[in-house]
């Protein structure tokens, strides 16, 4: 942001208006979440009579009820496994590929970029049905590892392009110097390049982890057993169950969102810078 000389007098009204509009937009973004939070603390009848109001007497037990009925505990534990494995795997897979494309200048890199752009833009439904058969035959169906491998494949193209964009910007003198000192490619990668682009890795890990946590279609297709469901499908199963109690659904939804919100607020710079530096800004 450039620092501009504040324009005097006449503009301060405009400034107030700007803040006013920005506040309204912020209310639009955050308001529905707040209502959702209030709803989680109401009784069903209170929700019906006062859908947008504050809860009269917070029903904290809704969270305990939702936790139990939706099996959120098991879901969260599974999600932790999925998220960490996805993030680590994507970093390894994409880091290696990005290094090859960005630093080693492997022939055909341009085609590969095109290929990655296309595969990350393909409809999942295109390969869903045959993949389902393949996974069933390999014993990877209804198996967290099976889901994680799919996530590796689905999230690594974007992560590769992201990490590559960090690597392309590095001055190559460092590597050349290391190579002249007789370092092998692996050593150059691990000792020289990696330390300089780790923010790219962190960002790729955060984005892949978040995507894996929130992912729905693949999880609902490839995981069936209740004790293996990640939290997104556990919550969906609960939400589309036969009895509909919006207060408990709200509480369950919040249980799912809160870990992400906390992580986001703690690491928001990293998250946001990550999306920005992913090449979307040209």
């Amino acid at each position: 942001m450039t620092s501009r000389p504040a324009r005097a007098g006449a503009l301060s009204l405009g400034r107030y208006a700007t803040y006013g509009v920005l506040l309204l937009l912020a209310l639009f973004a955050v308001g529905p979440m707040l209502v959702f939070g209030f709803n989680a603390l109401k009784t069903p009848s209170e929700l019906a009579t006062s859908p947008l109001g504050l809860p009269a007497a917070p029903q904290w037990h809704n969270f305990a009820d939702a936790w139990q009925e939706a099996a959120m505990g098991v879901g969260l534990a599974n999600s932790v496994v999925v998220v960490i494995s996805t993030a680590l795997g994507v970093c390894v897979i994409s880091g290696c590929a990005a290094y090859a494309m960005g630093r080693l200048r492997v022939p055909g890199s341009n085609f590969l970029i095109f290929y990655l752009l296309v595969t990350s833009a393909l409809p999942i439904q295109l390969f869903l049905v045959p993949l389902f058969y393949l996974w069933t035959n390999l014993g990877l169906y209804d198996n967290l590892l099976g889901l994680i491998i799919i996530y590796w494949a689905v999230f690594s193209p974007f992560a590769t392009l992201l990490i590559r964009s960090y690597m392309v910007g590095l001055p190559k003198e460092y590597e050349e110097a290391a190579r002249l000192d007789g370092a092998g490619e692996w050593k150059v990668f691990a000792r020289v390049v990696l330390p300089m682009v780790w923010p790219g890795f962190l960002t790729a890990a955060l984005i892949a982890g978040l995507s894996a946590y929130n992912e729905f279609l693949l999880a609902v297709t490839f995981i069936q057993s209740t004790d293996k469901m990640p939290v997104s499908t556990a919550f969906f199963a609960f939400k589309s169950g036969y009895t509909q109690d919006y207060t408990l659904i709200s509480a369950g939804g919040l249980i799912m969102v809160i870990p992400v919100l906390v992580a986001f607020l703690l690491l928001q710079r990293r998250f946001i810078e990550g999306y920005i530096s992913s090449g979307m800004t040209g």
Binding site: Y133, T136, L144, A237, Y242
Partner: protein, 457 residues
Amino acid sequence: MSEPLSRRRFLQLSGAAALGATALAACGSGGGAGGDQITYWGAFQTKDLEKYFKENFIDAYNKAATGADALKVNMTVKQIETIDRLTQTAVASGSGPDLIATFGPAQTLNYVGNGNLLPLDPYVAQYGWQDAFLPWALDAGRVDGKLYSLPANLETMAVFYNPATFAQHGWKPPTTLAEFEALCQDAKGKGMVPVGAGNAEWKPATEWDVTWVWNTFAGPTALYEALTGERRWTDPVFVDAINLLKGWFDKGWFGGSTDRYFTNKNSTVYSQLAGGGAALVFNGSWAFAEIGPYFGEAAGNDATWDFAPLPSLGSGVPAGVQPLSVGAAYSINKDCAQPARAADVLNYFVTDPARQLGTLAATGLPPAPVKVAEKDFPASTDPRVRRQYLALSSGANIGYTTWTFWPPKSDTYIYEQMEKVLVGQLSPQDYCAGLDKVFQEELKAGQRPPVPAPTGA
């Protein structure tokens, strides 16, 4: 993901799934660690039902199965929304469970067509199935003379109401078209929803209305003729029935308005009935299993519910038609290594009237279509429920539900395209003509389940 610890953890986690995939090979191979079992995938509407089934069917069978050649049943619980698609893909890729559960004989046909199922005829005499089941229900599982599935539940449709609401407005359950329309008019005028209805959670709910209207307006005889190819679906008697239904939706009688119908959930419908906001609910006997929590102590009100037979909407159609529904059926996977043992499990699951009615009394879950007598019902059975199943067991005045007796694509057509009729994008004539096209093709291809002849009142 590279450290061995987590890999071991994954192997543990995948144990159960691997079992499912390899159980076929292991099934009956003898001596394999934990491999001697019959695999079964179950899906339940609620946790309580799951628990009841596990204790009274799976665990009970396993406890009793102590013979030398006895095998235990291993049940894996799946989600009810996805179990059919899941089973289809798993069976097709050769890794389905030994016992295949479907949502009825129409779905079974797909498996039969692909040669996925074993005929059950060798076991009919051994277990006395011919006498145990209502004859039409067992016949529904036959394809080209061979038996491929056992019916696992029996349901019908009825009209549910709240006696207190009826007393307050001086209504009685309608038995004719005129009475039904007068009641709806009166209810609408009083600001009520005449017929509580909605398909937000379950899109196929729309076919419930098509089913009861056709059965009571066109009547079982006309339906039987159409199902056997002697009458076309473009016949005025079917078109007029759809016109009638569409007119009621347009008047806002169903669910309050057509748009509300699309977003009403089951909970909305039952709550309206309990709270006096809705006059009638046309629903299946499966409602017995889910209606409880909205009435009386559980819901914190003093409301009660009751049901009446369906009214007659057309001349010459007797009141009280009972459209038959078999909403679940069991078959044996052709890859099962121990089919005789699997048949034994099937027999245990569906034939014993006491176990079937015990389940009905305890959970409201519909029993298999086995022959029952008044004395078979446990004392704890809800008298309303007993009344319904005794009537069904009599086999009188039967009708046809679209999800049991129509071929699969025709069935899908019925509820998907009906939405277009309701919003005015498709005329009842074109709707019936479209159905006729789909149906005749499937009929020719042998896709229609066996249909019992109508029995009259």
